[in-house]
């Protein structure tokens, strides 16, 4: 268990800046997920922590000790690779034993053939075998120890990769998209297992994924990375409920958040297209803003029913039935893209294409972003502000 301190790390590959001055502190025993679209630099950051890549500038500390000049093996980190990187010519047991063999035997004892004849190797070997067996049992792969990776299923290989990381009891587990090669069903199951593993081991986990569901379901904190910058680091629910900027709001959440252009009028209310939305929770100066409404924040309003404070009317263009919910796409005059509302299927069933509909949203559930795309904080300032921009 150890903390990781990343300060002002930057990395450029040729012309492209992959990381621009990223700072992040990961606490002991935390499950931190780096999430972002492919090419955002999250894997590079993970590889810099591991020591597989050298940063151009900035520093990394593990457990308070600078590790910038240490090779990977001296950083006491374990890594699970996207393709597992199991040694195809070794059995499962040999794969899992290698990190221990490399640490516990001297260079002389590791020599092929000759090494085995040297005194003192037998008890070390027995110790390694015992530990490998123990970890294998805990992952329920002990019956596979004599097989080779090619004889295993994807899920089994994944466990072996986890096991190889676990045998060493490292301070930090680094995981690079470990679930991306599994099928959907197995992915859900393994998600739970990795979260459980984290609770059981209590070690620090740094997990990289492009899948926001993985990020939301497993982590104690999520770090959203976009184009080489950390945009927000916060617990999952906060990322969803209070995105630090438009980019985070747009990246997290499926279907995507609805965005509406707005102007603040003299009286402090927002003019949205042809409507006026009073949003008392924010204090806004006159100017251009963008409002964000999550699809599930919309509630359908019946014609002739009570008039909501914030409403938007349009024509139904498309209805997606998902079983547990229904997505209603409705076109609003003045907007290029239709808006999306997530409604109860019972409600959805009453709607037909080309119907005129009005959806309302409670003012507290409207996210307000300024012209630079930053979140406008609430008056009551209950939100964490530290998260905004690294």
């Amino acid at each position: 268990m150890a903390s990781v301190e990343i300060s002002k790390v930057a990395k450029t590959f040729g012309e492209t800046a992959v990381l621009r001055s990223v700072s992040l502190s990961i606490e002991k025993g935390e499950f931190l997920t780096l999430v972002g679209p492919s090419g955002c630099g999250k894997t590079t950051l993970l590889r810099i922590i591991a020591g597989l890549e050298t940063q151009d500038s900035g520093a990394v500390k593990i457990a308070g000790i600078p590790v910038d000049h240490l090779p990977p093996k001296r950083r006491d980190v374990a890594m699970v690779f996207q393709n597992y990187a199991l040694y195809p010519y070794m059995t499962v047991a040999e794969n899992m034993a290698l990190p221990l063999v490399m640490r516990r035997f001297s260079a002389l004892q590791r020599l092929p053939l000759l090494g085995r004849l040297l005194p003192g190797t037998t008890p070390i070997r027995a110790g390694i075998d015992a530990e490998v067996g123990q970890v294998a049992r805990s992952l329920a792969i002990d019956h596979l120890l004599s097989r080779r990776p090619a004889q295993l299923s994807g899920g089994q290989r994944q466990r072996v990769a986890l096991g190889r990381a676990m045998v060493r009891n490292p301070q930090i587990f680094l995981m690079d998209e470990p679930l991306s090669n599994l099928d959907a069903k197995l992915r859900v199951q393994t998600r739970t297992e990795i979260a459980e593993l984290h609770r059981r081991l209590g070690a620090t986990f740094v997990y990289v994924t492009h899948d926001q569901v993985e990020a939301m379901t497993m982590s104690s904190r999520v770090a959203v990375m976009l184009e080489g910058d950390l945009h927000q680091v916060a617990p999952p629910q906060e990322i969803y409920d209070a995105p630090a900027d438009l980019a985070v709001a747009g990246f997290i959440g499926t279907p995507k958040i609805n965005l509406l252009p707005a102007q603040v009028r003299g009286d402090g209310a927002f003019a949205v297209l042809d409507r006026v939305w009073p949003l008392p929770q924010v204090e806004a100066l006159a100017g251009g803003y963008t409002l964000g409404v999550r699809p599930e924040a919309w509630t359908p309003l019946r014609a002739g029913g009570r008039v909501a404070l914030c409403a938007m009317g349009g024509i139904v263009r498309h209805i997606e039935l998902l079983g547990s919910e229904t997505l209603v796409h409705f076109a609003v005059e003045g907007l290029q893209q239709p808006l999306v509302a997530r409604v109860d299927p019972m409600v959805g069933a009453t709607l037909r294409l080309a119907d005129a509909v009005t959806f309302g949203v409670s003012p507290e559930r409207v996210h307000v972003f300024d012209a630079q795309g930053r979140r406008v904080p609430r008056r009551d300032a209950l939100e964490f502000r530290e998260a905004a921009v690294g």
Binding site: G51, L52, E53, T54, H69, L70, P71, P72
Partner: protein, 285 residues
């Protein structure tokens, strides 16, 4: 990060390793290129200088014209080289014409007999080219074709390696492409020439390079079937030359060797990537 070196080593060690790498590879390059340099060097020297007790790569007296003109006039060296081009071209054309349809049928059609034919191909791959020499020689003698271009070309017109290589390549072409062509009304021959050939171009070029190298350099078979000087392939021509000159007149001999080696070396320098890829393809065997 690479096979031997790892990241995070000290700059001094990295520099030392780099120096070691260049020293060894440079020495190896000198050894591999040495014979070529020596060949050209001697082809420019006078006989007196070649046998002089001191040796230098650069000729003291320029004797190139004498050596090369002697090489091209004493024996029809140009003829040998043209023979080489003519024979390799004929062989490759025939190999492609026979191999492509067969490879397509093996890769993309389902028919009774396919497995048998494929077994023939695999058997053919096992047989080194020198094995059928005696019966082929007898056959050509029977039909009176010994000492003709046909005698040199015919045994090489079929390349089981070419069939195998193209089949492996065709296997990777998606079936949907062929099905689409059939729905568009293209016949099976049309599919081979219009659909498969263009997609197989890279493999075919690589095979062409390989075929060119093999057949330009082939010595064993032409040595058996060619007696007439005017039919000689480039390597055979060099041997005729060496025999005629009793093998001691090194200047013109090296000039002839240079002339014979030049087409392949120039082609290699121009299309290095194709050469190396083509030769690496033997690894699919």
């Amino acid at each position: 990060m690479s096979v031997l070196a790892s990241a995070g080593r000290s700059p001094a060690r990295r520099l030392a390793f780099s120096a070691f790498r260049h020293a060894v590879l440079l020495a190896a390059s000198v050894l591999t290129l040495g014979p070529f340099v020596l060949m050209v060097s001697i082809s420019l020297k006078s006989p007196g200088e070649i046998f002089a007790p001191e040796f230098s790569l650069w000729p003291q007296t320029w004797y190139a014209w004498e050596n090369y003109s002697l090489a091209f006039t004493k024996q029809p060296l140009l003829r040998f080289i043209l023979n080489g081009f003519f024979i390799t071209l004929c062989i490759f054309t025939a190999q492609a014409l026979f191999a492509l349809p067969c490879a397509y049928a093996l890769a993309k059609l389902r028919w009774r007999g396919r497995n048998t034919v494929f077994v023939f191909v695999l058997l053919g791959l096992l047989v080194p080219p020198q094995v059928p020499a005696i019966p082929l020689y007898i056959l050509l003698w029977q039909v009176g074709l010994l000492d003709t271009y046909a005698a040199i070309i015919l045994p090489s017109t079929i390349s089981v390696f070419g069939i195998f290589l193209m089949r492996q390549f065709f296997m990777t072409v998606p079936d949907s492409l062929i099905h689409a062509a059939r729905l568009d009304g293209v016949g099976e021959f049309g599919i081979v020439w219009r659909i498969m050939l263009p997609t197989a171009m890279p493999a075919l070029v690589a095979f062409g390079v390989l075929s060119f190298i093999w057949n330009w350099n082939e010595f064993f078979w032409p040595l058996l079937v060619v007696q007439s000087e005017h039919l000689a392939t480039p390597p055979l021509g060099v041997v005729f030359f060496a025999n005629a000159e009793a093998g001691t007149n090194y200047g013109p001999l090296m000039a002839a060797a240079t002339a014979v080696t030049a087409p392949l070396v120039i082609a290699f320098l121009l299309a290095q990537r194709w050469f190396i890829e083509g030769v690496t393809m033997t690894a699919v065997k």
